[in-house]
């Protein structure tokens, strides 16, 4: 019997509400259709009515979790149009904010992935260890989220040198806890059984769909804007692009966990670099933005964020195009979910990190012909948990 399983459209913790329709034959997903636009806010159009300074606050609100990714790409874009070189201290601060965000975003994902597999302890641990990072944001920027740090030509606030020891102390704590989480995930045979060989995306799929970030790097496509088109302080510090060859959900987890170590290392090096710069030197004044165009991209936790702006010499953009990494990553679901069972579809959908927390409240299965409900969201999640339990018993 053929069934359609809709997942969505509303997920309070997802950046955008969206609806997935899984076309199933028995347990197996045969096709997937995606619908979106439930919360289309017309940000690109809205930006045309904002000055460049105001637009920073607008793009910061595109995503609630990685709220600095869009200002980062937009700042790169506007700096390029204005032809401005920002001070080293501002470069370091930009990179620190970007990397702190990567850490908390990856921790959030690890927690959610644990929840989907029935590992609620991992979920609670990961979210607990994410808290100190948010505290750090509060200390540095005054906000736990939406930090309002970026502007054309630099940053809005300095990080005073006296705060460095405290930042390093918290990073040390996060590092230890990341060790714990990495050990728990990498050595657990049940997690291996649930994630290895699941949600496969080949190199060819990644290239054709233009997928980016950890999704691409887990399929051994070594792309990372921080290295490929260096910006901010990334060329001034030592770090490496993490890749994995597994192409599956496990590889994506591996990439994200190991990336957190790189992020911590980058921040530590940035803090050391900042000591050699002058406190307060965080901005190059930009008086006007000339007519022209600019492309700015930045590596967000989920992959490359891309901004394209066309200007005409006024304070407003003529066109402001935004491409978030999920736009290209979500499309890969067609490859990663088809052929999987329903129990594996949830973790495959979650693997590209579209923040899939509340699926259970939205998903239900119904018979195409009679419209009778077969499974509700809770039951679908239970299916996934039951599979984990069965594997655990067998081992």
């Amino acid at each position: 019997m053929s069934k359609i399983i809709p997942i969505g459209p509303y997920h309070p913790l997802q950046e955008e509400p969206e609806l997935f329709k899984l076309y199933c034959d028995g347990e197996v997903v045969k096709d997937i259709k995606w619908e979106t636009g439930y919360n289309h806010r017309g940000i690109e159009k809205l930006s045309e009515s904002k000055t460049f300074d105001q637009a920073f606050f607008l793009v910061e609100r595109i995503c609630g979790i990685c709220s600095t990714s869009h200002p980062f790409a937009f700042a790169n874009c506007m700096d390029e149009i204005a032809g401005v070189e920002i001070p080293d201290r501002a470069k370091y601060i930009r990179s620190i904010i970007g990397e702190l965000e990567r850490i908390h975003s990856h921790l959030l994902w690890v927690g959610l992935a644990g929840h989907f597999l029935g590992y609620n302890t991992v979920f609670m641990w990961a979210w607990k260890y994410r808290e100190p990072v948010l505290d750090l944001f509060e200390m540095i920027t005054g906000n736990r989220n939406s930090y309002a740090m970026f502007k054309i030509g630099g940053v809005r606030r300095d990080i005073e040198n006296e705060k460095f020891p405290k930042i390093k102390e918290i990073l040390n704590y996060v590092k230890k806890k990341t060790d714990l989480l990495t050990g728990a995930v990498m050595d657990d045979p049940v997690i291996h059984a649930r994630t290895k060989g699941v949600g496969i995306l080949t190199k060819e799929d990644i290239i054709s769909y233009g997928a980016v970030g950890p999704t691409a790097r887990a399929s051994d496509v070594a792309i990372d804007v921080r290295r490929d088109d260096p910006y901010a302080a990334y060329p001034m510090v030592n770090w490496k692009v993490i890749t994995a060859k597994g192409c599956d959900v496990f590889a994506k987890a591996e990439v994200r966990l190991l990336e957190m170590y790189e992020s911590i290392s980058i921040i530590e090096q940035c803090l050391d670099g900042m000591k050699k710069t002058k406190e307060g030197d965080i901005e190059t004044k930009v008086k006007e933005v000339p007519a022209g165009w600019g492309t700015g991209h930045a590596e967000a936790p989920r992959g490359e964020v891309f901004h394209f702006v066309v200007t005409n010499g006024s304070s407003y953009p003529v066109r402001h195009k935004v491409r978030a990494p999920s736009y290209v990553n979500i499309a890969t679901f067609k490859k990663s979910c088809v052929g999987q069972t329903i129990t594996d579809a949830t973790i495959s959908l979650a693997a590209v990190d579209p923040c899939y927390c509340c699926t259970e409240r939205m998903a239900y299965a119904y018979d195409c012909n009679t419209k009778d409900m077969i499974l509700n969201g809770e039951e679908i999640l239970k299916l996934s948990h039951r599979k984990t339990e069965e594997i655990r018993k067998q081992l």
């Binding site: 769909y209 490929d228 088109d229 991209h297 499309a331």
Partner: protein
Amino acid sequence: MVSIKDIDNIKNNLKGDIIETEIKSAARATITIKTDALIRAADYLFNELKYRFIIASALDSERGFEIYYHFSNDSTGLVANLRVILPKNKPDVESLTSMFEAANWIEREMHELFGINFLNHPNLEKLISEGNWAKGVYPYRKN
């Protein structure tokens, strides 16, 4: 390391199809090509040079509907924009979806927001409004 030679290579290869070129730096260039040369140019960048397709941006300007196809050479950091300019009374252009899947959604989006027709697109359904928007009204047009 990014080098201006990358852009020169593209220019030489697409010579007969180029209308104008704007080079901002060794890492940023916009090459305006004839509309009917789009498939050939995109094929050269994507299949031969192995550039990644980032996204496409449409723009309603005095010259017509402009589409910027953004390509990235991830080994050097070059972002090359292929631009086509379509007349406002007949905004038709070939779809690139058969070449790479990444063009699928953005072409649907540009069709929905600007009314640009992508010829030979497998499914030019609305992407964002799913039928909740008036037919023939394109919200991102400037008129």
